[in-house]
Amino acid sequence: MFRLHSSLVALLVCGFAVFSTTTLADAQTDSTQPPTAKLQLTADVLLTPEFCSTKFKKGSWKTIKEEFALGPTACDDIETGLAGVFSKLTRVQTNPNPLDAQVLLTPRFVDVAATTGVTAFSNRDLVVVMEWTAKDASGKTVWIDTVQGTATHHMGNVFTYTKNRNRRRRFGKGRSRKSGTEDGGVARLTARCPII
């Protein structure tokens, strides 16, 4: 049940895909059910060199200093993950002017937080928060949302620590397992706050 074959970033992308499909479809058809077919929209996804080289440095001299290179992982997976959502998807490196597609999608890493364990067998959690913005051809923001992905793996010892950290980043290789949510470790943050 806990075997996963996709990366954390891929899950973030898929999470985005599900939520964007639902929300954009809502806007188009007033239906709350996600469509099974591709959205009849052409899209550009903006993956700048800066985004693709994003690294988060966490920790201090008091604890563990770590670097999470999420950008390269994301850029490998985002284009593939979104290909099945839109009728046409084009990857661009700079802000296109004018926009050829109907929407421009821009991902942004918001934050990363990783817990530390006490022993080699303590579980560590990695949380990645990513924000997505969709703009129309006129440059107006038509949709924005934030998704959160989590990964859990053992802390590891002096020999396995680096490997385990990379597993958390990739989320799903080896014996990593998902945690928290049932939708593959990705939660739309607004889901925490039901309709009141």
């Binding site: 022993t119 949709w143 706050c193």
Partner: protein, 197 residues
Amino acid sequence: MLRACIATSGLALLVVVTAVATDDFPDYPLRAPQECAVHAAKDEIFVGAQPLENAVDQKTYFKTNVAHLGFVPVFVVIHNGSNESSFLFDKSAVSYGSASVLDTPKAKSKTGEVLGLSVIPYAGIFAAAKVMKGASQIQQNLVKKELRSTTLSPGASTCGFLYVPPVQKDGSIEGLRLRVALTRSGADQPTILELDF
């Protein structure tokens, strides 16, 4: 006998340490905007804010005294009461400032461009944490519970915490004005709601 005693003690210590390390953070109870200490409504948008200035509440939901780190957690809930329109909530457009200063026309040009809340120095919070035990869990919990940008479909709500610096010397946020902007999908001008604490 001595070996067994040491082994048992070691095992007990491991259990205690593991229990501390895996301690859960309870969710803050949900509430409607109208049930919050401060609330406002405009253009079918309802916003409520409930500051957690009480040290006991902060310990309960964050396992630390957040005020000692230089922030007051404010629970914010936003509800789209429209039956037709979606609203975009961009957290980078959230701003705050002292209400008395903002009300002064002369000073408004200077402080009216109040600070955005999108850049929260979590590293600072982490570094300032005196207690190392569980500090990374505390930091992650702060990240998880933060209010985030989202699109509110008709009838939908979003909620989360904003971490704002205290205004008063006693660590309270009395006199603070929180400004939340939401844009109706397709519109140019945002709907701005102000919450005075």
